[in-house]
Structures are given as C-alpha cells and as structure tokens.
Symmetry: C2
Subunit: 461 residues, 2 copies
C-alpha cells in the first residue's frame, strides 16, 4: 500500500513549498458573508482548483448561483473504499481589524504559528489533504484507494449552494463514497490529537425591532413610547432563564440526552476549568446548570447574541430614543433538533413577546442540524492508526461545539460514515482576531493524511 517512508521523506523536504502554497491561499480575502468580496471568493476557488489539478486529480469547476463548488477525484481502485474529502475555501469576516497584531490577509509567522484569517478554518486544514494526495503523486505512487474532493465557498454562511447541489439528480452517485473526511475542527489539546464524532448544528437569525419612524429626543418623548432598544433587551433577556435554560417553547423536546458512557469518557479527559477560564481571560464560567463545561460546549444546545446595535454608538452623550434596534442571534443545536423546528419556536416566542408600538421582524440567516456518528466504526480505528503514526499519540474521542452545517446533509444523502479529523488547536482563534495555525500541526496534518489513505484502504468494504 505505498511506501510511506518515501512519502515522509518527501514531506520533510517540501515543507517550505507547502508553507508558501498555504500563504498564497491565505492572502486572498475570500469572505463569503460580504458581497464586496465575491471576486476574492472566485480567486480563492481558482487557486484551490489549480492545486487539486497539480496533485494529479481530475478536477471540475461547478458553477452555482453563489461561489463555485470544486470537485476532484483520483482514479477508482476496485475493491477498496472510496473517501470524499470535504472542506471550504471561504473565511469569516476579519473585523474587529484593530485587534489583529498583523493584517488578517498578510500571513505572518510568529512563534511557530502562521497568523491569518482562514489559517486553521479551513484553508490550512483543507490543504493538508490536497497536499497529502499530491505527495503520493509526487513520489510516483498511485493512491491505494479512490479519493474524491468536494470543496465549497459558502461554509461560513450556510452552504446553500452545496445543499442545492446535493439535491440534484446524479450527484449522490457522483459523490458516492464510504467515508467522508473533514478537517475543520480541533485536536483536544496541545499534544493530544482527537477524532470528533459529533458536531452541533446551528440556527442563526437577525432580529429587527422598529419603533418610532425616526430617532426621538429622549427628553421630549421619553416615557411616551416604547424604546425599541429596551424592548429588544427585554426580549433577549427573556430567552434564557436563571438556570441558563433556553425559553423558546418546546426547545428541549427533541434534544437527544447525553449517554452515560459519553459523560464518563469526557469526565476522564484532562480538563481544568481554571486553566480554561484563564485562557479565555474570564474570571468565571457559566452556562446551563446540571452539565459540565465540556458537556455544555460539546453536546448541549445554546443561545448566543452574536451582534447588537441601536442608536448612538459614538463618543459622548446623545439623548435619543432610537428608532430601531437589532440583534444577530444564534442557537447551537444538538441531535435531534432541526433548524426548521427552532425557527418555528422563535416565531412563536416572538408572538408571545410583543411590545406596544414595536414591529418585530425575524430574518433566517442560516441553519444546519447537528450530527453524531458511531465512535466504533472501522474507519475511526483506521484514522486512529494514521494519526498515531504522525502525532505519536493516540487520539481521544470527543464532540465539538461548532457546526459544519452541511455535514448532516452529506451523511444523510450519501449514506457514508464520517471522519472529523481536527489538526487545529482550541486557541487557534477561529472566527476571532489573530486566527492562526501551528505550522507543526499543518505539517503533521499533511503526514497523517498521507498515512490515512493507506490505513483506510485496509478497511473491508
């Protein structure tokens, strides 16, 4: 199944080149949420497709109504399993810009890390698989199994184009695979690799509270009308009770309870609440009562305010009743909640919380269900061997609080198993200023991925 020593030596030698390839991709501000960056999104897609072609794969640029989907595949290997690598070339917005130590789209090395928006999420992690396939080709060895790639440019805003694409006739056959491989999550901790067998889903909304037709003088009119910002605060406050329980009607009805075995496994993980709080810079943690911090962030649904705005935000005092107030809010979902059901509950909650003279509107911005897979699959066992050979440590089995909205859809559609192999670290600042990817993890990820094809090829299908 290939000479892995040859590949390992090749990878050692090509690290500088791989770093350059990563930097080139990171220089492109492919922010899918901001329409002004749509050309950058296209440019990033083109570069990724070129890289897939250079890895010896047959590639396809799939036009959509949004950013293109990129497809690539190596030749079929009869009798062996087929893997489908999923990843994304789009990134989160970079603001607040003033908190970045180096510009988000000028990749900068510091202390063994590469800093840039998208470094870990997901350009760097996605690239490990492209470069691993490339290393087999470059050392003159055919891949021991067929590897397909499906790379999208809309993961950060909800994967709508991919969702539509998956529903098209013939697509399930084209993407047919035994296991989906995704690197868009984290190791458990520095020096402790992990395989993630569960992801949370998400429902993301924008709320707009409209009151008077324009800002009013808070002296002349204060006391006469509902202040939209106060109404919004009251609405948002009503969303969670003192025990951290979300108050949408029926919100917990379809939440799959944690298994005792999961709770025990996680209780055994090395985790210090104090260390964790210190790392985040907070004096204390909080959340839904009755669950540990790991349980709360991996396997319980949550409510967050992601953005909030109203009235005057400048310097000094402006004495107005704002005409309107808005918020971006999101819920992280766990199996078996669905975004559609949460949207329905939110609309019901809005109906229950009306304010005189205030018009409330809700915009549904994105959604995707959570997913949990079987932690005992032979693919997970194979991945563990590949990871151990590169990271020199056995991976622990964890879940992840983040969402890859499309995963549940793909698992469903393709009837495949899924491998969530995170090469990043929890403090890589995904979605935050100073996002980074540890270079050692980038190189180890490429190596582990190279070994992965060899291990997965051994799984009987």
């Amino acid at each position: 199944m290939g000479d892995l020593d040859v590949i390992d030596r090749y990878l050692q030698k090509t690290q500088p080149d791989h770093l350059e390839q990563l930097k080139e991709l990171l220089r492109i501000p492919s922010i899918s949420a901001v329409p002004q960056h749509s050309t950058d999104v296209q440019t990033a897609a083109r570069l990724v497709l070129d890289t897939l072609a250079k890895a010896g794969l047959q590639t396809e640029w799939i036009e959509t109504e949004g950013p293109p989907l990129l497809y690539a595949e190596s030749p079929p290997v009869p009798g062996k399993p087929v893997a489908l690598v999923y990843g994304h070339y789009d990134v989160q917005p970079a603001d607040p810009l003033d908190l970045w130590l180096s510009p988000p789209f000028e990749p900068t090395e510091r202390d063994g890390n590469l800093f840039a928006r998208g470094a870990t999420d997901d350009k760097g992690q996605m690239l490990t698989h492209v470069l691993s396939v490339s290393s087999w080709a470059a050392t003159g060895q055919p891949l021991p199994m067929q590897v397909k790639f499906l790379i999208e440019g809309e993961e950060e805003v909800g994967s709508q184009q991919l969702e539509s694409y998956l529903a098209k006739p013939g697509v399930a056959e084209k993407l047919a695979c035994d296991v989906i491989v995704i690197s868009d999550s984290s190791q458990y901790a520095e020096g402790q690799p992990a395989i993630t067998y569960g992801l949370r889903g998400i429902s993301y909304f924008e709320l707009l509270f409209e009151g008077p037709k324009q800002d009013l003088h808070s002296g002349s009119f204060g006391g006469a009308v509902t202040n939209p910002a106060i109404a919004l605060a009251r609405f948002l406050a009503a969303m969670v009770d003192d025990q951290g329980r979300i108050q949408l009607p029926g919100f917990y009805d379809s939440v799959r309870p944690l298994e005792l075995s999961e709770r025990e496994m996680w209780a055994g993980l090395d985790f210090s609440e104090d260390e964790f709080a210190k790392q985040l810079g907070v004096a204390g943690l909080s959340g839904e009562q009755g669950f540990s911090t790991l349980e709360r962030k991996w396997a319980r649904p949550t409510f967050d305010i992601n953005g909030l705005w109203s009235g005057y935000q400048g310097e000094g005092a402006k004495t107005i009743i704002p005409a309107k107030a808005g918020a971006k809010i999101s819920f992280r979902l766990v199996p078996d909640q669905t975004p559609a059901e949460v949207a329905r509950q939110l609309h019901e909650f809005v109906a229950q919380h009306q304010f005189p003279g205030i018009k409330i509107s809700v915009r549904d911005l994105q959604g995707g269900p959570g997913v949990v897979v079987n932690p005992h699959s032979p693919f997970i066992a194979a991945a563990q061997k590949a990871i151990e050979s590169s990271f020199d440590k056995q991976a622990v089995l964890i879940r992840e609080g983040g969402s890859i909205p499309i995963v549940a859809g793909m698992v469903d559609k393709l009837g495949a198993d899924v491998l969530l192999l995170g090469w990043g670290l929890n403090d890589d600042n995904a979605h935050s200023p100073n996002e980074k990817f540890r270079l050692a993890d980038f190189y180890r990820g490429i190596r582990a991925s190279s070994h992965l094809w060899s291990q997965l090829a051994e799984v009987p299908v």
Copy 2:
C-alpha cells in the same frame, strides 16, 4: 417704554437679513460631543459674539477648559428689573446622516421651514433674543431694562464649564438678575404658544460589559462562558418592570408627586393619543402605568437606552461570542431627584446584578437636576402679554420632558425667576434627523422677544 410699532415694522423689513444670519450660524457644525469638531465650536462662538456686539452690547469672550462662554450686556436701567438670556451655540451630533433629506449643515428651506442641525435647538431660538435686542438698537431706542446674555457651547454634553464658571467668585454678582429668559423648548402645539414652568433633569451613563479577552467562536465556546451581550440584555431588562417602573433601588423615593391642579390643567389640554402616536409613526404608546402620556413625558422620571453595541453588526452571519457589549443609558429626572443620587443607585444596582466572568464598568457622562418654577410669578404674566401680542393667542402653562441641565444650577445660584419661552414645535426634530425651525416661529419669536423687554420692564422690583 419704546415704540413697539416702529420695532415691528423694522422686524418685518429685516426678515431676509435675519434669515441669512441664522443660516450662517447653522452652517457651522459645532458638535460639542465630538472632539474633532472643537474648531467648529470655536468658530460658532466667534460668530455669536460678533452678533451680540453688532446688537450694541458690550461683549466678553470667556475662555474655559472647553468651549468659551459668551457674555454680553446692555447698559443698566436703574429701578427696572434685569433679565439674563441663557442659550447655547453647540449642537447634537447629526448621525444617522443617511436619514437627512438635505445635509445637516447646509440649511435648506422647505415648506416654510428651515432644515439644519441646531435650527431649533438652540441656534435659532437663541438668536431670536439677540436679534430682538438688535432691533431696539437699530431703531434708535434704548432697551427699557438691562438685558444680559450668557451663551455656552456645551449644553448638549452637560454644561461642565458653565457649572465651574458659576462657582467662581464674583460671577453671581456679574450675572445678577431678576429673571432668566430661555428659549430652548417648544410651543404646546402648532398655533398654541406655551410657557414652560418645569423641566426634567438627566443622568446619562455609559455601560461596558467585558467578558472574554477577545471574540470567541460561538460553536467551540458557546455554553461555556457568559456572553457579555446576553448579560447586558438581562441587566437592561431588569432595569424596568412590567408596569414601566424603574427598578434602581430607591429611585422613586425623592420624586415630587404631581399636584392635582397640574393633572387637571393638562387633562384639559387638547391632546389626542392617536394623533400623537401617528405623528411618531408608532402603532401604540406605552410607559409607566397610572399616568397619562403628557404626565409621563413632562413630569415623571424615565429610563431610556440611547445606544447599544456588541459584536458583529455587518452583513450576514458571524458566529461569535462578542468580547464585550456596551450601552448608553439615561434617566430623565423630576424634582427632587438629583443626578448624584441616581448615580449612587445605579452603582448599587450594578452590585446587585453581577454575572460570572463579566466585568461591568459605568461611566458617568452628564447629569443635571430637574426644575419647577412658580407658574404665578409676575414675570410669567408679563411674558404672556408679550407672547400674545406676537402670536395672537394666550400661552398655556406646561412642563417639558427635556432637560437644560444648567437651569437648576443658575436658578439656585442667582436666586432669580426663570422664563422658559419655547418658540419651537414638538415636531421640529430636535436631536433627530431633519431638525427644523418654522420660519414663521423664528420671526414671531424675535417679535415676542422684542415686546418682552417692554413688558418685563413694567414688573416692579
């Protein structure tokens, strides 16, 4: 006591010139809240001082640590009362700029109104008194009483320099007067002039809720830490109960109750809740239960959120737990509440409402107590005659929800009566986009002010 007919004819003739003078002053963006506009504030001060000098007054530019105070006076008239006109040449910020139909600092006439930031609050109204004094001089008539002017440039941000100035030795003697005249309020309604005998006070604060040291991925960390925006929403929501009662500890203890006679007087005023709501563009009104809308906005204390911000406010979805959240909040106060007492109550409320991992800080941005004066004073009777001669209608006695923070301090310090003669209208959009001043009211205000000196001179002192 002067030939008022001569003055009336003179004022008729000089309307175009007076309009030009007002426009010139309105072109200067003298926004006191924004440090970048400090030169504009100085420019506005210079122009007002020049105008006072051209009115034949002896003027003085009083340097402070902030915008200058402007003082001017006409010669003493023994045996007659002394009036002190107070006004301000600074204005509120103009944003949101996109809601202005014409640029805020390019005064534009439409439908008999002049649109510009500061048109009614307070450049236009303040100027009526300067131009009325000018009209006595221009028609060769000495003022029948001494008129002093004290014009400041910091009214919109709390009058700190004026407050310090009033405390200096000799200042009370210099400003000594029998009545303070202020035009920085409104008529009761179109065609119904008013004399305002009460103003609310204000306490204005900025709140900052700080959580994690930077924005966090809401997937990876959601459920683990307190979201600062949620903490802020819960805090703000706790500030008012379902009956619209403010929950600061002891907030209502020193609130002077409304007199039955006031409630009866106002109940007799022409006021339609439906019309009022329609004018503001809201489907319904709300506020503290047990009080009418006029009572709530004139004579009851209120709480407002003036600004709110946290996290991502751009397009689309960004899945973060914001590192911090902030709000600008204010309370309108009534006699006998004091800003110091409200600040103390707010700090106590903060102490009662703590959240794990959240640091709350409070900045005190401005404050001033409310004031209520005797509605039966001879100065009010004299002002009623002057108003009736210019507006052809008797003024009603009202209170006003807005604050002129320094009024209470001046009344206190100088032991004088006060006349609040509003020439503006409630829909003049003070503090809002498209602020305006009806030109007919500008001209009537100048005329009423010209007659005022004649009437006030008759009051025995």
